[in-house]
Symmetry: C2
Subunit: 414 residues, 2 copies
């Protein structure tokens, strides 16, 4: 079988596992590197691999609009098209339809993005495509699907669960997500409930279309794995109901979607994962910042993705064991030491820190050189990917709590 | 001795040689890759090396302004600062002082740049810094040197021959250039003459300062080599006089500077090289386009540098054996073949062409992804660097004329 998930070690809700895909193995918990438009911004796939990334997630909404899912298909599917030989994922397109279509309004986004990234950051080097920005209400929802206008040219488009599946079959990632409705965190309870019920009906239609139409290998096994998405906002009853219903469907894995308040995110993840079937992987969508991984993993999440590491990198914000530094700060102009520390608190061993000084990287940012984004992205992704790997190791070594305490104490400067 | 130049094969004015520097050997004729601000735009040094580049040239004017030559010095010198282990060069700063200082006016620049690059190209991704643009007359020349205003913030600065040498000693490239005055091609003969005489006096002062102040190795040998620059515009008598005077000074090599009309550039190079001492390397500054290498090499030039390959790359203009293509052209959207041909007319073997389709690169440009610039720059530099290597081989094989005819016939589509 092309897909399997095995839990190697457990500790409460936590698990360290192995996810087998047609394009390679992912050791979980893992950070999924985001390559929105079939490229991890500013990096070659070789650079992505060499910093330790195991899997890349691209964005259905963006690839559908540009270059078009049929072009990705005709280019051999996502991995071949972008020259990434490892495992791949796509998201459902739901989050972007609603956030770029302004169902969210201009100030709402995934909490990890909202919390971490200055508004201006997304505009760095013309790269404003992923963020929520000021649009008219361009997304219109009905029972059957969503009509929306393109963020590129305003042209009209429509996604239904079946269409999202068709597009994601064309893009051809190893793993992908059912089509869901992503509600605003400010929406009233009644609307959250209604939207969740619709998401459940859409999940069923997604699964149905997928099972009938997915490309199968010589043994008749599906070549792509479909994950269902649990919604329900911050409401305990809705989240538990959603976990029960989505968890009861025959998905290959699960996504936990929606927007969270940071303080109750881990609680929500815990409610959901106590109900989801244990033997399948769980992806906490659009999360996170360094501290989020501990809370998410402790509450049973296996996979994470977030644009923050690369987006922050492009503004010169670099992760270190003692928190983030901004390389644009004047003090780095003449700093010939290495740039930052790794998640273990020692001198970082990434390509960037091993070969360049803080003064050089600071110069590249001041000079507005593209290589600044490349070097900073390598560092930030290396930090995040390896932080999650270290958390995984701490689970295997039964030292999660010690590592969590040690890391967070340093990271928050206490 | 850290520096030596040996001619391996001659044919008329042409030569194939070996230039030994403290950081490695350069087989000449060679294309010198431009890394204006201590970075080859959009590429890591490993990418630069793997496409076949032998040497990188950075820009004294830009590094003096940002991050400052003392920071480059304190960072271990140019090569160490930018993590390029091979040979390095800096230009004198003269060309930028005069062109960015608008002594040239807004329409003058090196012919290879003017001929090859659409005006808009230089503005691609905020990278307008190297090109001549609209400034007030910010450079003021006197016998002792030039006062000019910074292109970054308008602050006042002054270069003299001694100051240019001091700055270039700080930057610490293996090879660098005497300070010269670069005149407008539209300047009258009398002014060209006057400027040339001044350049000769500045050459003497540059050489004098260098010999007294250059850092020497354990054997007392200079660790940096200084090249004098021949000027004289398009005038035969001035060019010959300049070659005689500069050629008579004890430089380690020579630059041929100034702006040319394309049609008489090769003639000028021939005049000069018939007079310059044969045993030292000659650098045709700021040139060129594919066709320029044949004319330059045939007339005795050994080294070339030009921003055109990377600047064109950032606009999606790619070299091929049959001329340039623009990957933004609609026909490439669904073209799943490899991108371009190499200088030999066969399928290009560069990293980009070996791993990506035209459709993918076209997508990256449309999506305004940084990786577009990286992949296109790798291809264009690979093409140019290897074209010059093939010309070198044709000299060794005594097949220069055949190769020239074959290449140019294809390239110009005749």
């Amino acid at each position: 079988m092309p897909f399997s998930f095995k839990i190697e070690k457990k500790g409460g809700r936590m698990r360290a596992g192995t996810l087998v895909t047609p394009h390679g193995i992912i050791q979980t918990p893992a950070f999924v590197t985001v390559g929105t438009k079939a490229t991890v911004k500013a990096l070659t796939p070789e650079q992505v691999a060499s910093l330790g990334a195991q899997v890349v997630l691209a964005n259905t909404y963006h690839l559908y609009l540009e270059p078009g899912d049929e072009i990705v298909r005709d280019g051999g599917g996502l991995g071949k098209f972008m020259n990434w030989p490892g495992p791949t994922m796509t998201d459902s397109g739901g989050f972007q339809v609603f956030s770029l279509g302004a169902a969210f309004g201009k100030n709402a986004s995934k909490i990890a993005e909202r919390g971490a990234v200055p508004e201006a950051a997304a505009g760095f080097r013309g790269d404003s495509d992923e963020k929520s920005s000021v649009h008219e209400a361009l997304a219109k929802i009905d029972e059957d699907g969503v009509s929306f206008k393109s963020v590129i040219d305003g042209s009209p488009h429509r996604f239904t669960p079946e269409r999202s599946m068709e597009i994601q079959h064309n893009i051809g990632a190893d793993m992908f997500f059912a089509f869901d409705e992503c509600t605003s965190p400010h929406a009233p309870y009644e609307y959250q409930h209604e939207a969740m019920d619709r998401t459940h009906r859409w999940a069923e239609r997604s699964l149905d279309y997928h099972q009938k139409n997915v490309k199968r290998d010589g043994d008749g096994m599906p070549t792509q794995a479909l994950f269902g998405i649990v919604q329900g906002g911050r409401h305990e009853d809705l989240r538990k109901e959603s976990a029960k219903i989505i968890g009861g469907m025959n998905f290959d894995g699960f996504g936990i979607g929606g927007s969270f308040d940071k303080e109750d995110m881990y609680t929500v993840v815990g409610w959901v994962n106590d109900i989801l079937p244990e033997g399948k992987p769980r992806h906490l969508l659009g999360i996170g910042e360094p501290e989020d991984f501990f809370g998410g993993i402790e509450n049973g999440a296996d996979l994470f993705d977030c644009v923050a590491p690369t987006r922050l990198a492009r503004t010169g914000n670099l992760y270190g064991a003692h928190g983030r530094i901004n390389i644009n700060n004047a003090k780095f102009k003449k700093d010939f030491d290495s740039i930052a520390t790794g998640p273990d608190g020692k001198k970082c061993v990434c390509y960037t820190c091993a070969n360049y000084t803080a003064a050089y990287l600071s110069h590249l940012f001041r000079a507005n050189e593209m290589e600044a984004a490349t070097l900073a992205s390598i560092h930030n992704l290396h930090f995040i990917v390896n932080l999650v790997k270290m958390i995984r190791q701490s689970i295997l070594d039964e030292k999660f709590q010690e590592f969590k305490k040690e890391f967070l104490t340093k990271y928050h400067g206490k």
